[in-house]
């Protein structure tokens, strides 16, 4: 296996060049994290609620085959057509074949990270299908020909000026107009026409319920509903880990999901689909795409508990200061950095290193995924597979030698302090020390802790 490039680090550096925008990004996501805290603290049972959610998910994964079979059986009874896809390509082919059966050429789609993961849009567009993303943030980035930078707030990397320019160009809004109310209204009018003309609606799935054979889709905008209820055909696409056993479990997850995501007590629309509407057709596509592999790995299977709230991103000091696009994968941030290497270890070998391992992600996760520990474990796996970049590997083996030879460690410390005192400019030179690219080295201490400790001992003991 070849060594990975410095993809995340390089992209993050580019993101940080626009300092004002980077600061705004950091502060805005921290604000969302603070709203999450207030929402969580409003429930005295928050921690127990997380525990229940975690246990329900752990239980479900331990009987995933049974619940998927139950879901399929009940969905069929309800008149829903169920499909199974081993990977993204099969998923895309299934969706496209449904469109072909209906001679459909106009599709509206609500937010679905699964279809991003499978690259459904380009697949359909190449085959002459018009695919319109209807979530406002998703529509914005679609017009910009960009992937989402956040799973809940897809356009969080953009300022209203960018969006004003974009809408001026594509939707004919006034030049220079950047009032969010005005721009949202323009998008509403534009997308309302798309909803009314669509042949087929595609949605994601937040939760599928084995007991009822139905599924729940959550939005604040109402875009999933407008699409699904107006089109003749509704295709809902889900990863196999989205199933939960019973409807009563939704009470637990719906209380956690939006509080964790944006600090709201619940999404505006939590829509429970169970049967096709009169004269309509409903399809449910169950997708594996690496999930069974993740399930078979005791170290990483916990990541399948994820309910895609985005709390781990909002709190992550690396995500906030590097932007979602620097992760070059559909799901950015800490959870994405666990999921992506499972799909392609070589392509995403950089991501488990895009973390300080501070553990904040694990602390806010509503289903108690040990995110930072899994990132740490990925580093071991990638190291053993030879997928760690050479500069990092050299540094690591250097450290290994240093820490296993106390005399060398003492010497290196003394040499380092001497060098930094005599030639501070050398230590701060980014070409020699990449750590110093955006920061200065601290002032070296006059004496090491070891020397200081020995001196204290001498004083005390005479």
């Amino acid at each position: 296996m070849e060594t990975a490039s410095l993809k995340h680090a390089e992209a993050a550096e580019a993101f940080l060049r626009d300092e004002e925008n980077a600061d705004w990004h950091n502060e805005t996501l921290w604000f969302v994290r603070s709203k999450r805290d207030r929402a969580a603290h409003s429930l005295p049972e928050w921690e127990q609620l997380r525990e229940q959610a975690s246990q329900i998910k752990t239980h479900t994964l331990s009987r995933l085959d049974d619940y998927l079979i139950q879901l399929e059986e009940n969905a069929k009874k309800n008149g829903i057509t169920v499909h199974w896809a081993a990977n993204g390509d099969e998923h895309n082919r299934i969706v496209h074949s449904i469109l072909q059966q209906h001679n459909a050429s106009k599709i509206v789609k609500s937010k679905s990270m699964l279809t991003e993961e499978c690259h459904l849009n380009p697949y359909l567009i190449e085959r002459g299908i018009e695919v319109i993303d209807t979530d406002l943030g998703e529509r914005i980035i679609q017009l910009r020909n960009e992937p989402p930078s956040h799973i809940v707030m897809p356009a969080i990397h953009l300022k209203k000026k960018h969006i004003g320019d974009l809408f001026h160009q594509h939707l004919g809004t006034e030049a220079g107009a950047e009032d969010p109310q005005y721009l949202t209204e323009a998008a509403r009018i534009h997308l309302r026409q798309k909803f009314l003309m669509a042949d087929v609606a595609i949605t994601g799935v937040n939760f599928a319920i084995a007991e009822t054979g139905g599924f729940v889709v959550c939005t604040n905008e109402g875009n999933a509903d407008l699409g699904a209820h107006l089109a003749k055909v509704h295709i809902a696409c889900m990863g196999i880990e989205k199933v939960i056993p019973k409807a009563e479990h939704l009470g637990v997850f719906l209380r956690l999901l939006t509080r964790s995501a944006t600090g709201q007590p619940i999404t505006t629309f939590s829509s429970h689909f169970r049967k096709p509407g009169p004269g309509q057709e409903m399809h449910l596509v169950l997708v594996d795409n690496g999930r069974t592999r993740q399930l078979a790995s005791p170290d990483f299977r916990n990541s399948l508990k994820c309910i895609r709230c985005g709390a781990c991103m909002n709190t992550c000091p690396v995500y906030r200061r590097s932007g979602g696009h620097s992760y070059h994968t559909a799901v950015a941030g800490p959870i994405g950095s666990i999921l992506a290497p499972n799909i392609d270890m070589k392509e995403y070998a950089d991501l488990p290193f895009a973390s300080t391992l501070c553990g904040s992600c694990s602390n806010v996760c509503p289903v108690k995924i040990d995110i930072h520990q899994q990132l740490y474990k990925w580093r071991q796996v990638l190291g053993e597979a030879g997928a760690v970049e050479s500069s990092k590997k050299m540094g690591m083996s250097g450290m290994d030698v240093l820490f296993s030879h106390p005399w060398l460690y003492r010497f290196a410390g003394r040499a380092g302090r001497w060098l930094m005192q005599k030639f501070p400019s050398l230590a701060n030179k980014p070409s020699l020390n990449p750590w110093a690219i955006h920061r200065d080295m601290p002032k070296p201490p006059a004496q090491s802790f070891r020397d200081w400790y020995a001196e204290q001992n001498k004083k005390t003991n005479g």
Partner: protein, 200 residues
């Protein structure tokens, strides 16, 4: 590859890889964080927090009067609340014509105090698109149907219906610089009438 084969492959892979059976939690859910006599007030406060308008009424006549003051009832209006006969719009087969709707009034079957989510299901809607496509939405909820939290709501709703939704406010978005804008795709306003129980 035939679909049945993919299904079997996925299920076989799950069986090979899944962990030993882990138990479900012994209990699911929690009691509400408020006494039941606070449900109504909390519910109304949360309706407002969600961007809706909250009105206490004692009869449907009051609902009628309020809507008459608030909206131009000569524009397309559809009420599916029995006893509130203000409809002037007959839905056609073509769902696209619903785009003209100015106001839809529906019965909310269950209201949740903690988050002001209101359960509206297919029997109540008649047409699934109604509460989403209308410009303005009004929901009438009986005070006796207010519960404390989501755990109390699920046993009260009929999950056998083809479609149902918890609606918690007007459609909204914050996708442009995190500025909250009410009225993204769905209804731009939500008015919730809390109807006092008969005999109060």
């Amino acid at each position: 590859m035939a679909e049945s084969t993919t299904r079997d492959t996925i299920l076989a892979a799950i069986r090979r890889g899944k962990p030993d059976v882990q138990p479900l939690p012994a209990t699911i859910g929690f009691a509400p964080n408020m006494a039941s006599d606070q449900f109504a007030d909390t519910f109304l406060t949360m309706v407002k927090n969600n961007g809706g308008q909250a009105i206490r009424v004692t009869s449907l006549d009051e609902v009628n009067a309020f809507l008459g003051n608030e909206y131009d009832l000569t524009l397309p209006v559809l009420s599916r609340v029995s006893g509130l006969d203000i409809s002037n719009f007959t839905p056609a087969e073509d769902l696209r014509l619903l785009d003209d709707l100015h106001l839809v009034v529906l019965e909310g079957k269950v209201g949740v105090a903690e988050n002001a989510a209101i359960w509206v299901d297919e029997p109540v809607m008649g047409i699934r698109a109604l509460p989403f496509i209308t410009l303005n939405l009004a929901l009438v909820v009986s005070e006796k149907n207010i519960v404390g939290n989501m755990h109390q709501a699920y046993p009260r709703i009929d999950t056998s219906v083809g479609f149902g939704a918890f609606i918690a406010g007007p459609s909204k978005t914050a996708d442009i610089e995190q500025s909250l804008v009410i009225g993204a795709h769905g209804s731009k306003t939500l008015t919730v009438f809390l109807l006092a129980d008969a005999g109060h």
